[in-house]
């Protein structure tokens, strides 16, 4: 436990006298958040025209990060619940971390909706005038439910330890064998809810896209399974990375064997994802019949080919190879690298999905659709290449900083390490 104490000295203890690394880290995050908040105010007062979104590509970075974080949150809860449901007890050292990750990620996903919509002050309309046929309403519901679920999960897993430590976060409950037994029962019940909820969360997010007949590239039944698969990849990968980081700061203990085990699991998830990607590309490309401006050609050989092949090679192939060999994945460093690039691969996958789906107006006839703002030359565009504007990057950075802040505090003050009994 000495390491613990050292950390305390370096961080909290040191902060009292001078600003140590922890303080710097927190300060940095707060600064990024402040700048981002200001930028968001700027965006709200000037309209979404300050982004590089237009009528041609009307969804971009914010929605992308919404999807991405929905996916990231999956891994956590799936790891936690499948551990419980399928008796995968090897997960137990990282279960708490996983549920914290899930909670923070889904919270960030929800936050990303605010900069995305044109009238954030009207977001409550979704509760006042919900349209039950809208996948977006379903998604709001599931995101809210999922957040509640994962927050409950976090509490259930940490309650006893919090109570033991006398934390007010235990909400006045006590750490007794009976309460622990009750916790255990509830964990079992929640696992049965959480696993389908996680799957549903990703499916519904997928259906936001996959149910749109207007966008041929998205309109495929594989969208939901593929979202679940990519969620598993990115979620598990992030859990691995966070676990290693937290372990480095001494807040969590587990052996490298677990890392290797998680790495193997990640390899399985990656292969499932790869299977779906292959299946989708093959189905779309095989007939050789161009449709909707031929998004498959764009993806395989056209303007989106760099993104697609990056995803396939860097995001799927390389991490799979790194993780497939037992000797390689025995190294946490290798697993960390594989997890890192797998996450990036999934991000690129989402980028490709959103951009390619919107790259060409469904009616591919000139002059295209009206862009929505004044630009040089014609106000119409047939296709659009979208690169997020600085505003979008800053706001994304701010939300990420907020997530990092919440996670840092959680890692710092929540008992992530289960007590040994």
């Amino acid at each position: 436990m000495t390491a613990h104490v050292d950390v305390d000295r370096r961080t909290l203890g040191g902060a009292r006298r001078r600003i140590g690394p922890f303080g710097l880290w927190i300060g940095f995050l707060l600064l990024v958040m402040a700048v981002a908040f200001g930028t968001w105010i700027y965006q709200v007062s000037n309209g979404l025209g300050v982004t590089n979104l237009r009528n041609t590509v009307m969804w971009g970075q914010y929605i992308l990060f919404f999807m991405f974080f929905v996916g990231l949150s999956a891994g956590g809860l799936i790891v936690a619940s499948s551990g419980r449901l399928f008796g995968a007890t090897r997960f137990s050292p990282i279960v708490r971390l996983a549920v914290v990750e899930a909670t923070v990620a889904v919270m960030l996903a929800a936050i990303f909706l605010f900069p995305d919509i044109g009238r954030p002050e009207r977001l409550w309309h979704i509760f006042r005038y919900p349209n039950l046929t809208s996948p977006m309403v379903w998604d709001f519901t599931i995101v809210a439910a999922y957040f509640a679920l994962s927050a409950a999960y976090v509490w259930l897993y940490t309650r006893a330890d919090l109570a033991a430590a006398g934390s007010p976060l235990a909400l006045g409950t006590a750490d007794t064998p009976e309460s622990r037994a009750r916790d255990d029962r509830w964990k079992g019940i929640l696992a049965w809810i959480a696993l389908p909820a996680a799957v549903l969360l990703h499916s519904i997010t997928a259906w936001i896209f996959g149910l749109q007949i207007s966008r041929g590239f998205w309109y495929t039944a594989i969208m939901a399974p593929m979202f679940v698969a990519s969620a598993l990849v990115s979620g598990l990968a992030l859990v691995i990375l966070l676990a290693l980081v937290v372990r480095r700061f001494g807040r969590l203990h587990f052996d490298d064997g677990l890392v290797s085990y998680l790495g193997a699991l990640l390899a399985v998830f990656i292969s499932v994802e790869a299977f779906f990607v292959l299946s989708e590309a093959l189905t779309a490309a095989y007939p050789g019949a161009p449709f909707e401006g031929d998004p498959i050609a764009r993806m395989l050989t056209g303007q989106f080919a760099p993104l697609f092949w990056f995803e396939v090679i860097v995001g799927l192939f390389v991490p799979f190879v790194l993780l497939a060999r037992r000797s390689w994945r025995a190294s946490p460093r290798v697993v960390a690298v594989a997890a890192g690039i797998a996450i990036i691969g999934i991000y690129v996958h989402r980028l490709n999905l959103v951009l390619n789906g919107l790259a060409i107006s469904p009616i591919g006839l000139p002059p295209g659709v009206s862009v929505g703002t004044v630009q040089d030359g014609s106000s119409f565009a047939m296709s659009n290449w979208y690169v997020p504007s600085l505003v979008e990057w800053i706001i994304v950075a701010g939300v990420l900083a907020f997530g990092a802040l919440v996670f840092t505090f959680a890692a710092r003050w929540l008992p992530l390490q289960p007590r040994q009994h």
């Binding site: 039950l132 056209g302 030359g377």
Partner: protein, 844 residues
């Protein structure tokens, strides 16, 4: 990336399934259906009926919706008593308020502070600019004569009162008024030569009555938008439409057949068709005998017609000989009435010997024999070589045209805007006449480009107390006096030293514009009257801000439809802008106070003057009152449908009918026989070998050797503008992108390494312009196309397309002189050039 243009329209079979699916979608909706009432129109202060009048001469009735003294909507009035004309108007007219209240609107009088052309001005008071202009005009008048001040304006038909004020003031001050119909190249010289009239277009509604529409160098789908539906009306009734055009135009896209012709060779097509029609015996020879000079004998020794005076001592100058096939004798026809003597059958061919009064014998031939001799040379194969259209298609076209009755020829600027456009007109006129399509509803030979024909008697307004402005074709302002200029042209003794440009963008839109810019050296005063800050305004010494037609009163009419209409002010003149009538009144007051009283006339009084002048029995404005006009359009006293030559065809009245505002005597001189003339005996026709319809290679081929200048530059009207008007229309720029594009055929492009969007220079010895390439098979091989009217600021370099165009004068056009009727018509499309790539796409 190549887009797939999969056809996305499919049969509508699934109508039945509609409701079930829709119900499914809404069944879930339980909450939130309390939507606010959004269905109320926002109110306006008033709606004013007026008439749109840029230089398209379309005269479309518009409603101006006014709120807070701003025109917030312009929409077609759609109130023509003849419903076929509703709604009438185009996207340009209905977006005019973006110019009324636009960024380029001139709001105050301006006086130049920098160099001419620099665009540096200071704002000034009306008093100051009027004193300045009046003072300068007086100085110029005293030194060089007032006739050395040239007034150049927009076509009078676009507003008889305000444009008429230019004429009225010019008459009072002795200024020289320029011309527009001829200067714009729109005067179809084939018409006065053949029919003795300025033009003889059918009203647009009559297109719908045609069974066969032959469009030559005409693109109404893009340039006659308010009228184009009449073509579709005809097509819906089963008519066929053939478009002859070097480019695949919008009109070609709607045609049954598109004949891609080599630019400037339309006359050859017409001649070959005429030959084919004769060969197939499809001609209406009786029509030729009755109404034309075809049977009149021509002396082969002098090339002059055989007149009674030649044969009988003391005979008439105005009796012409024909040979009666029945009697073998010579017969005579006069000029008082068309037709041939009863019982005769005039020969149209052969040669004969005739004894003259002096006893000598000369060989004579019917005029048509000479025409036929020329036609004989126009075999289908020769025509194919010249025009690039296959002999086979020419033959089928000729037969289809001759066998469909009625058949209309609609000729446009694409064919007229040539140095030898008159020959094309003569060939087409021949076709129409030899198939009996003259004076027939659904038929005719109509030239639709710059419809200028004055519909009412503007004399009393334009010419105060009979005083007339000197009218000098503006081409002589640009080029100076030509060697062959008609002596009746009142060219000022000391040349030109002042210029007033009103409602015209002359320094961009004149042909051979670099030459025009050279005249600036001689000019002591350049006044520009306009409401938009055009490039021409920048060359002014003094700028007078003008009211648009939504801010003043005027009277308009057009040959395209038979309605007389008012312009009525919807709002007060914006800023300090004023009407032309007001400006001239103030100037005349300052220059010639003794004559100022003649300008003390209100617009309403001027309109009354015009109505009264044409209001006599049978006059065009008989029974029309100002009060009626205030309520909406009023039909002129013209036939329905309004087509030309009815009195000639039905009542055998001699050609030509009157062309307002010229007196009949003036234009009757064009036709000594008072018949449709295919044989022209005037000396210059004989000198130049153009006595009968024939073909000449494009004139610019003689200036720019085709081997060195292999491309023809075509500068058609754009659908997005009326010449340069609307060139700064922000809504339309959103559509077309505001970038001049040069249409070039893939073969011509690849030979020069040019690809779409490359920056290219188009140049010849007269000038150069830099714009962007649009490589498309819509272009003809050997022809590049850049629509005229782009503002100079839209180009990468250059003053506009007219740096390259020609201002040369065809001496045939100077045989007679009646301004805007027989006077030099310009040849914008008669222009050779070369093209080179300046910069690859994406780097500009």
């Amino acid at each position: 990336m190549k887009l797939s243009r999969r056809r996305f329209l499919k049969g509508a079979a699934a109508v039945g399934a509609t409701t079930a699916a829709a119900a499914g979608g809404t069944a879930f909706v339980l909450l939130g259906r309390d939507h606010p009432d959004v269905a109320a129109s926002a109110g306006v202060d008033r709606v004013v009926r007026t008439t749109c009048s840029p230089n398209c001469t379309g005269s479309c009735g518009q409603l101006a919706f006014v709120r807070d003294e701003m025109v917030v909507k312009v929409q077609q009035a759609a109130d023509y008593p003849d419903a076929a004309y509703n709604p009438r108007g185009c996207m340009k007219g209905i977006s005019y308020h973006t110019l009324i209240h636009g960024a380029d609107r001139i709001l105050k009088p301006l006086i130049r502070t920098g160099e001419r052309g620099s665009g540096e001005f200071r704002e000034a008071s009306w008093d100051e600019v009027l004193e300045r202009v009046a003072g300068d005009m007086k100085r110029i008048g005293q030194r060089w004569g007032y006739d050395s001040i040239h007034v150049f304006g927009q076509v009078p038909g676009s507003g008889y009162i305000q444009k008429g004020a230019n004429y009225r003031a010019s008459a009072l001050l002795g200024l020289t008024h320029g011309t527009s119909f001829d200067f714009n190249g729109d005067l179809p010289m084939g018409m006065p030569i053949t029919f003795g009239v300025q033009n003889a277009e059918h009203e647009a509604k009559d297109w719908a009555n045609s069974r066969f529409l032959l469009l030559i160098g005409a693109n109404p789908v893009e340039t006659r938008i308010p009228d184009v539906h009449f073509l579709f009306d005809a097509l819906e009734k089963g008519a066929r439409m053939v478009v002859v055009d070097p480019n695949f135009s919008g009109t070609a896209s709607k045609a049954d057949a598109w004949l891609q012709i080599r630019p400037g060779t339309d006359a050859a097509l017409g001649l070959a068709m005429a030959r084919e029609i004769l060969a197939a015996d499809l001609g209406d020879l009786d029509f030729l005998r009755t109404y034309t000079d075809a049977p009149l004998l021509v002396r082969l020794d002098t090339g002059l017609r055989l007149r009674e005076r030649d044969v009988v001592a003391g005979g008439s100058e105005e009796r012409f000989a024909f040979r009666d096939e029945r009697s073998g004798e010579i017969g005579w026809v006069g000029t008082k009435r068309l037709g041939m003597p009863r019982g005769s059958r005039a020969a149209l061919g052969g040669t004969y010997r005739v004894r003259l009064a002096d006893g000598s014998r000369v060989e004579v031939a019917p005029g048509f024999e000479l025409v036929r001799r020329e036609l004989e040379t126009w075999t289908l194969d020769r025509a194919e070589q010249v025009t690039g259209i296959s002999a086979d298609r020419i033959e089928r076209l000729a037969r289809a045209y001759a066998t469909s009755k009625p058949a209309a020829i609609l000729m446009g600027g694409g064919s007229n805007h040539w140095f030898h456009g008159d020959l094309t007109g003569r060939a087409m006129g021949l076709l129409a006449a030899m198939t009996g399509n003259i004076g027939v509803s659904g038929g005719g030979f109509s030239v639709y480009v710059g419809q200028y024909k004055v519909r009412v008697n503007v004399g009393p307004w334009n010419n105060p107390d009979g005083a007339k402005a000197h009218i000098v074709p503006s081409i002589y302002f640009v080029r100076g006096r030509s060697e062959t200029m008609h002596p009746d042209v009142p060219y000022p003794e000391h040349g030109f030293h002042g210029l007033v440009v009103t409602f015209a963008n002359m320094f961009v839109q004149a042909p051979d514009v670099n030459r025009l810019h050279e005249t600036l050296r001689e000019l002591d005063l350049v006044v520009v009257v306009d409401h938009q800050m055009t490039e021409t305004v920048k060359w002014a010494d003094v700028v007078l801000p003008a009211a648009t037609w939504y801010e003043k009163t005027d009277l308009t009419a057009t040959p395209l439809h038979p309605f007389l209409q008012l312009q009525q002010a919807a709002i007060e003149p914006v800023g300090e802008s004023r009407t032309e009538l007001w400006m001239w009144r103030e100037l005349v007051k300052r220059i010639a106070p003794d004559r100022a009283a003649a300008m003390e006339v209100t617009e309403d009084e001027a309109i009354e003057m015009i109505l009264a002048a044409g209001g006599d029995r049978g006059g065009p404005t008989e029974g029309i009152t100002l009060a009626q006009l205030r309520d909406g359009p009023v039909r002129l006293n013209v036939p329905d449908p309004d087509i030309p030559f009815l009195a000639q065809i039905n009542d055998l009245e001699p050609f030509p009918p009157v062309s307002l505002p010229a007196p009949l005597e003036a234009t009757a001189a064009f036709l000594p026989t008072r018949r449709i003339e295919f044989y022209k005996e005037e000396e210059r026709f004989r000198e130049l070998g153009e006595t009968v319809p024939t073909y000449r290679d494009p004139h610019d081929d003689g200036v720019h050797d085709p081997s060195e200048w292999p491309l023809t530059l075509l500068t058609p009207h754009s659908k997005w503008r009326i010449h340069s008007t609307y060139g700064n229309n922000p809504w339309l720029a959103e559509i077309h992108g505001g970038r001049p594009k040069v249409l070039i055929h893939p073969d011509d492009a690849s030979a020069r390494g040019i690809e779409t969007d490359d920056l290219i220079e188009v140049y010849n010895t007269r000038g150069s312009i830099t714009a962007w390439a649009e490589v498309s098979p819509a272009a003809g091989v050997g022809a590049v196309t850049l629509p005229e009217g782009w503002w100079p600021r839209d180009f990468a370099a250059g003053k506009g397309v007219n740096e390259l165009t020609t201002s040369e004068v065809n001496p045939i056009h100077e045989v007679h002189f009646v301004a805007n009727m027989w006077s030099p018509s310009t040849g914008w499309k008669d222009c050779r050039c070369e093209v080179r790539r300046v910069e690859e796409a994406g780097r500009a």
